[in-house]
Symmetry: C2
Subunit: 252 residues, 2 copies
Amino acid sequence: MELRQSAQEYEIPHQLTYYECNELGHPTLSMVMSMLSVVADEQSSKLGLNQETIQATGGTWVIASFEGTLDLHSLKIGDTVILGTRATGYNRFFATREFWLRDMDNQRQYAHIQSLLVFMNLTSRKIEQIPEKVIAPYRTPQVKKVSRGKRPQSIPQNAELSGRQYHVRYFDLDANRHVNNARYFDWLLDPLGEDFLTTHQLKSFSIQYHQEVRAAQDITSEFTLVEPGTSLHQIKNGDTLCTTAEFKWQLE
Amino acid sequence: MELRQSAQEYEIPHQLTYYECNELGHPTLSMVMSMLSVVADEQSSKLGLNQETIQATGGTWVIASFEGTLDLHSLKIGDTVILGTRATGYNRFFATREFWLRDMDNQRQYAHIQSLLVFMNLTSRKIEQIPEKVIAPYRTPQVKKVSRGKRPQSIPQNAELSGRQYHVRYFDLDANRHVNNARYFDWLLDPLGEDFLTTHQLKSFSIQYHQEVRAAQDITSEFTLVEPGTSLHQIKNGDTLCTTAEFKWQLE
C-alpha cells in the first residue's frame, strides 16, 4: 500500500474592512489577492519557510500567472470570511498553489484561484530548478506535468485600445521592494471607468506576469472589450509588455 | 456631588500585514489612518450610530483636521498592536476624537492622533449644529471651547515647490463614494521620493482638509522643505486648495 501525505491546507478568518472594499461596499480584487498572499506567506512561515530561509538558497519564488472564478459581489464590508490556501503540486520547474475565499459555514465560495509559480535565481535573474528544501515542507505531490492554467486571450491586432498612464508610487512597493502582484489589478481595472465597474460583476479572470514593473516607472494600462462580457488587458512599460490579463463580466 | 460619565474608549487588536507596510516593513501612515478610522466606525456602530442612522438626520460627519505624533518605525510586519479611539469633547459646531496605536503591554505608544470634526448638511453642503442624537451616545463632555489643534504652517510665498500630478482612481473611492481621508497621505508623501522616505522617520504631522477631492479629478501634490526636518505640503485641484499639511522628520 502506498502511503500518501496530503498537502496541508491553511486557513484564517478575516473580517472585511471598508478600506478593502470599493464604493459599492464589495471587496476589491487587488485587496482579495493581497489578503490571500498573506495567508500563503503565513503558511510558509509556519513551515519554517520565510523570505530569509528561501533567499538563502540564492533564489526566490516568482508568480507567473493566476486564474480564478469570483463572486465578490455577494460580500459586503463587515462580513467575516475564511481565506485559505494549499500548495497543489510541483515538478522541476513549476509549482502550483490554490486559494479560496469562503463563508464560515463552508456553504459558499466567493473566490477560487489557481497560481503558477517558478523559482528565479537572484543573481542571474533566470528561472532555475526548484530546490527540494523550499518545496518539501508543503508535502505537496511531485507530478510529471503541472497545469499551466488558462492563458489570457491575445488582444486582436486591429483592436481599438483605451487606457491610462500610471506612475509607480513609493507606496506601491512592498517590503521586498517590489510592486506586489496584487497591485496590478488596480492598474488593470481602473481604465474601465466607474460607469463600467459599477454596472458589471467580475466573474472570472486570468493574468500572466511577463516582466516585472519597477519603482518609479511610468506604465500604460490598456484594454479592449471583445465579445460582450470579456475585456482583454495589457500593461506596458514603454514597448515592453509586462502583464496580460482577461476578465469576464456579467451585467449587474 | 456631580455625576460624571466618562467617554467610552474602544480598542481592537490588529496584526500588521505586509500590504499595510512600506518597503522598509513599517506600517504606512495612510494605512494606520485607515485602520484607526475603522476602529472609530466600529465604535459608532456598536453605539447604534452607523452611516444610515447618521445620514437620516440629513447630515454627515466631516473631518476638518488631524494632528499627531508618530513612531511607526518601531513597528514591523507581523507585530500585533492595539488600535484605540475615544470621543473627547464637543460644542455646538465642533467635536474632537483621539486615536492611539499602542503595544499589547501598554508600555509604548506608536501613534497618538487628535481629530477635529464638523457636521455637514447633506443638501446645503454647509456646516450645521451637531444634532444631539449623533453625539450623546459617546458620553463625551460638552465643552465651551474645543481645541482646534495645531494648523500646518503656511508655505512661504517665495518657496520653491516640487510636486507630482495624481489622477483620482476608481479604487481610491470608498463605500461612501468619497476619497477617504486616509488616502490623502499617500498623495502628500509620495512626491518626497524614495530616497527621502527611506532615510527619514516621520515624527509628527498636522493636516487640514479644506475642500474635498473627488472621483476622476486630477490633483497636484506639492511640497517644500523648510527648516531641516520639516516639510510643508499642499494638494490642489486646479487653483482650488484642497489640503494643507506639515510633517516633521528625523534622519534615520
